[in-house]
Amino acid sequence: MSDSFKLPNIDYAALAPMLILFGVACLGVLVEAAFRRFSRARIQLPLALLGAVAALIVVIATADKRTVTAGGAIAVDGPSLFLQGSILVLGIVALLLIGERTLERGGSFVAQAAVTANTEADRAQAATAEGASEVYPLTMFALGGMMLFSSANDLLTMFVALEVFSLPLYLLCALARRRRLLSQEAAMKYFLLGSFASAFFLFGVAMIYGFAGRVDFRGIDEAIVGSPASPVLLYVGLSMLAIGLLFKAAAVPFHVWTPDVYQGAPTPITALMAACTKVAAFGGLLRVLYVAFGRSQWDFQPVIGTIAVLTMLVGAVLAVTQTDIKRLLAYSSIANAGYLLIGVVALNKDGLSSSLFYLVAYGFTVLAAFGVVTLVRDADGEATHLSRWAGLGRRSPLFAAVFTFILLAFAGIPLTSGFTAKFGVFAAGVESGQTWLVIAGVLSSAILAFPYLRVVVLMWLSEPAESTPSVSIPGALTSAALMIGTLATLALGVAPTLLLPITTKAAEFIR
C-alpha cells in the first residue's frame, strides 16, 4: 500500500440527484444576481420545480442502485434512495406552497428581511413589495442537504450535510411577511438551539473517532466488537450524536424549539420542515443507529425507547392545551416523532420499512394540513388562533371537510394513511418485543385525539363568530399541493399496497 494520496472513485450517476439539486440551487443564486426583482420569482419557481423533478426522475431511474461511493462517504442504497425520493416528492409539494402568490400580494415571504420590524418601511413593504425570491435557492440547498444527510455514510459528511440543510432553514424561518418579530424570534431560537445541537453532534463525532479511530459507519461497526478503547467513549459519543439527531427529529426533551419555530416561521416553510426535515432527520437517525451502532443496540434501545415514550406522551399532553393551530400541529408533530421512534427502536427490517412508510405518509398529511392553515386568513394574514376557526365548516364546508379528514388521519382513524402508518410501526414494535412502547403509543394516541377532535368541534359544531375569518380561494399551486396531500393520505390509507412493497424492498442498508 503506497502512502500517496489517491483520488476516490466517484460514481456520478449515484450522486446525480444531489448534484442536480445543488446545481439548480447555484443556478438560482445566479438568477438572483442577473435578473430584476420582478422577473426573478417567475423564473425561480419553475427552475426549482424542474430541478426537483429531474432529480426525482434520476432517483426513480436508479432505484436499483446499491453502492458506496465517494471514498465511502456516501451510501446509495435502498433506504437512501427511498428517502431521497421522499424528500424530493414532499419538497416539490412544499415548493408549491412556497410559490403560492395569489393568497397574499407578493407571496408569503418578506421582501427585505433586514428592514426593522414594525416600522413604516416594514409596513410598506408588507403591503405591496414582491416577496424575496431567494427562498427558492435556499429551499433547494436545504433539500439537497437533506438528501445528503440521509445518504451520508460517515459522520463528517453527515455533519456537513446537517449544516447544509440547517443554515438555509434558519434563514427561511426569518422571512415571514407578517408578524415579523415572531418570525425573527423563531429563526433566532432555531439557530441558537440548532447550533448547540450541531456542537453536540460534532463533539460526539470526536468522541466516536476517539473510540473507533474512524468516522465511517462500517469502521464504527467493526470497532464496536474489536476496539480496545474504553466503551465510555462510545457511549458518550453516541449519546451526543443522538442529541444532535433527536434535536432535528424534535424528540422530547430536545423539542422545545419546535412549537415556537413552527409558529413563527412562514407557514409554507413550517410545512417544509414538518415534512422534509422530519424525513431527513429520521433518515439520518435510522442510518446511524442501524448501520454504525447496530451492534450495541442493547445499550441504546432502552434509552431511545424511553425517549420515544416521553416524546409521545409530552407531545400529546401539551397538544391538548394549545390554542394556536400551528402550535397544535407542532406538538402533534412531536408526538408523531415518538411514533416514528417506535419504528426506529424496533431495529429490524420491519421497523425500517414501517418508518419509511410513516415518514412519507405523515409528510403528505402534514403538508396538506399546513396548506389549509395558509388559507384561513383575515386582514392581518393567517388567522391561526383556534378561536378564530369556530364555525369554519359553515363558511367553507369544502376546506373544513378536507381539514377534518386530515385531522382524522392524524388521529389514526382507519382508511387514512395515519392509521396504516401507525399500524406498521406498532407491528414492528411488537415484533421486536417493544410492546411497552406500543401500549404507550396507543394511550398517547387516545390523548392526542382530543385536540384534533376539539378542532373538528370548533369547525363544525360551533356557531361562527363575528370575527370568523374567511377561507381564501387557493391559487392553482396551493390547490395542487392540497389535492396531492389529501389524495395521498386517502390512497395510502385505503391501498397502502401502493407503497408497502417499495418500502419493504428498500429496507436494506449497505455498509
Binding site: 382513524i413 382508511l415 392509521f419 407491528a427 406500543v438 385525539a449 363544525w460 360551533s462 397502502p496
Partner: protein, 512 residues
C-alpha cells in the same frame, strides 16, 4: 360462487350515502325519499340473505375474500354466522324505520338535511361491515370508521350538550379502539401474521399473552357495549343524539360490544375467557342493578332509556359469560329483541319529545289524554322493555336467567332483582308521562294535540308485530342462532352442566 351478499350489503348503503349527500340541499324531500328507498332495498337484500342462510349449514356462510394489503396478510374477508346474520337483519330492519321516523328531525337543526340521511346510510354501511367482517383487521377498520358518522349525527343534529356528548362518545370509543389496536397488532404477530378469523381460531398463545390480548379486546367491547364502569358516555350520547340516531346507537351499534365478545374474545382466547369470566360476569351484574337504579332516578326520557339499555346489556353480559347454551342463546336473542324493543322505545320517545319540545319527564304528565294511540304504543314499548311475558324480550331474559341459574344461582337471583327494578323504572316512567292528571302546561303546546300520523304508524307497526310474533314464536331466530352459539361455546370448551332436575330439562328439550 354464490351471490356476494355481504359485500353488496356493506357497500350498497355507502353508495346510497354518497348519492344522497350529493343531492342539492334545497331538495330535502328528494333526499329523504332516496334514502328511504335505498335502505328498503338494502332490507330486501338482507331478507334474501336470511332466506339463503342454512341454519344447519357450515358455521360461517356467504364467505367472500378479496386481497387488500398482501404485505400484512389483510384481506376483505366477509362471512356471517348465525349471530352476525341476526344482527345484520336487525340493522337492515331498523335503518329504514329510523329514516322514516326521523323524517322531520333534521329540519330543526339548521343543518343540511340530505347530509343527515347520508350519514345514516354511511352509518348503516359501517355497522354492516362490522358484523360481516371475518378478518380481524377489516373488523377493526369498520369498528373505528363507524364512529365518524355517529359523531357527526350526534354533534351536528343532536339536542342540548350535543358537542360534549359527541366528543365524549368519540373519545371513549376511540380509547377502547386503540387498546384493541394494540391487541390486534399483538394477535397478528403472535398468530402468524394473518388476520383471517378462521385461521386465528386455530392459533395457540401462551397463557400470559392470551390474557393480555383478551383484555385488549374486552376493554374495547366493554366500553362499546357499555358495561359498568365504562358506561358514562352512553346516557350523554343517548340523551343528546336525535331520537333516530339514538335508536341506532343503542339498538345496534352498542351490540358490537357484545357481538365482539362472542365473536372475538371467546373463540380466539378461550382460556383467558374462562379465566376472566368471573370479572365479566361481575361487571355485567353490577350493570344490571346499578343502571336500573340510576334509570329510576332520571328525569330525562332519553337518558332514562339509555340507562335501561345499560341494564339490559348487563343481562346480555351475564348470559355470555355463563357459558351455557341456553344463556348464550338467550343473550344473542336478547341482542336482537333489545334492538327491537329499545329501538321502538327510543322512536316513540322521539315522537313524544318532538311534540312536546322537551325530553324532561316533568314536562309531561297525563299526556295519554291527548295522545291516546301514541301513549298506547309507548306503554307497549315500555312493557316490551321490562320483558313482559308475551313480548319477545321475555323469552330472551328468561333463557338467560335459566341458563345462568344452572351454573351460578347467586348471580341468577341477583339478576332477577333487575327485572323487578325494570318494572319500577318503566312503570314509574309511564305513570309520570302519560297517566295521571294532565299537566296544565301541555294544554298550551299545539304539538301535543297532533295525533299519530300515518308515517309514525308505519314506523311502529312492524316493530310491534315482530315483538309480539317473536314473543310467542321465537323459533325462527333461535334456529339460526343456536348452531352459532353452540360452536362458540365449543370453542371455549364449555359444556352445559348435567341437568340436576332431569325431568324438567327433558321435557324442555322435547318441547323444542
Amino acid at each position: 360462487m354464490s351471490f356476494p351478499y355481504l359485500s353488496v350489503l356493506t357497500v350498497a348503503p355507502a353508495v346510497g350515502g354518497v348519492v344522497v349527500a350529493l343531492l342539492p340541499k334545497d331538495k330535502p324531500e328528494l333526499a329523504k325519499r332516496v334514502a328511504l328507498a335505498w335502505s328498503v332495498a338494502v332490507l330486501g337484500f338482507a331478507v334474501a340473505m336470511w332466506i339463503g342462510f342454512q341454519a344447519n349449514g357450515p358455521r360461517l356462510q356467504f364467505r367472500e375474500s378479496y386481497p387488500w394489503i398482501p404485505a400484512w396478510g389483510v384481506r376483505f374477508t366477509f362471512a356471517a354466522d348465525g349471530i352476525a346474520l341476526v344482527m345484520l337483519a336487525l340493522i337492515a330492519l331498523l335503518v329504514p324505520l329510523v329514516i322514516l321516523a326521523s323524517w322531520h328531525d333534521a329540519e330543526n337543526s339548521r343543518r343540511s338535511v340530505p347530509m343527515y340521511f347520508a350519514l345514516m346510510l354511511f352509518l348503516e354501511s359501517s355497522m354492516i361491515g362490522v358484523f360481516a367482517a371475518a378478518d380481524v383487521f377489516l373488523f377493526y377498520v369498520f369498528f373505528e370508521v363507524m364512529l365518524v358518522p355517529m359523531y357527526f349525527l350526534i354533534g351536528s343534529y343532536g339536542g342540548q350538550r350535543r358537542q360534549y356528548a359527541a366528543v365524549k362518545f368519540f373519545l371513549y370509543s376511540l380509547a377502547g379502539g386503540l387498546l384493541m389496536l394494540a391487541a390486534v397488532v399483538g394477535l397478528w404477530v403472535l398468530g402468524g401474521h394473518t388476520f383471517d378469523w378462521e385461521t386465528l381460531l386455530k392459533a395457540d398463545f401462551s397463557t400470559g399473552a392470551e390474557r393480555w390480548l383478551f383484555l385488549g379486546f374486552f376493554l374495547a367491547f366493554a366500553i362499546k357495549a357499555p358495561f359498568f364502569p365504562f358506561h358514562t358516555w352512553l346516557p350523554d350520547a343517548g340523551g343528546a343524539a336525535p331520537a333516530g340516531a339514538a335508536a341506532l346507537l343503542v339498538g345496534v351499534m352498542d351490540k358490537v360490544g357484545t357481538f365482539g365478545i362472542l365473536r372475538y374474545c371467546l373463540p380466539l382466547f378461550p382460556d383467558a375467557s374462562k379465566y376472566f369470566a368471573p370479572l365479566g360476569m361481575a361487571l355485567a351484574l353490577v350493570g344490571v342493578v346499578y343502571a336500573a337504579l340510576l334509570a329510576i332516578g332520571q328525569n330525562d326520557l332519553k337518558r332514562l332509556v339509555s340507562y335501561t339499555s345499560i341494564a339490559h346489556f348487563g343481562f346480555i353480559g351475564i348470559g355470555i359469560f355463563a357459558f351455557t347454551t341456553q344463556a348464550a342463546s338467550g343473550a344473542v336473542l336478547y341482542m336482537f329483541n333489545h334492538g327491537l324493543a329499545t329501538g321502538l322505545l327510543f322512536l316513540v320517545v322521539g315522537m313524544l319529545v318532538a311534540r312536546r319540545g322537551s325530553a324532561l319527564i316533568g314536562d309531561f304528565g297525563g299526556a295519554g289524554k291527548y295522545l291516546p294511540v301514541l301513549a298506547g304504543v309507548f306503554f307497549f314499548a315500555g312493557m316490551a322493555s321490562l320483558a313482559l311475558p308475551g313480548t319477545s324480550p321475555f323469552i330472551s331474559e328468561f333463557l338467560v336467567l335459566v341458563g345462568v341459574f344452572t351454573v351460578n344461582k347467586t348471580v341468577a337471583v341477583i339478576a332477577t332483582f333487575g327485572i323487578i327494578l325494570a318494572a319500577g323504572y318503566v312503570l314509574w316512567m309511564i305513570q309520570r308521562t302519560i297517566q295521571g292528571a294532565p299537566n296544565p302546561a301541555i294544554e298550551q303546546v299545539e304539538g301535543m294535540k297532533r295525533p299519530m300520523s300515518l308515517r309514525e304508524a308505519v314506523v311502529v307497526t312492524p316493530l310491534i308485530a315482530l315483538i309480539l310474533l317473536l314473543g310467542f314464536y321465537p323459533k325462527p331466530v333461535l334456529d339460526v342462532v343456536n348452531p352459532a352459539v353452540k360452536a362458540t361455546l365449543s370453542d371455549v370448551g364449555a359444556s352445559d352442566p348435567a341437568p340436576t332436575a332431569g325431568k324438567l330439562t327433558v321435557t324442555k328439550e322435547a318441547g323444542r
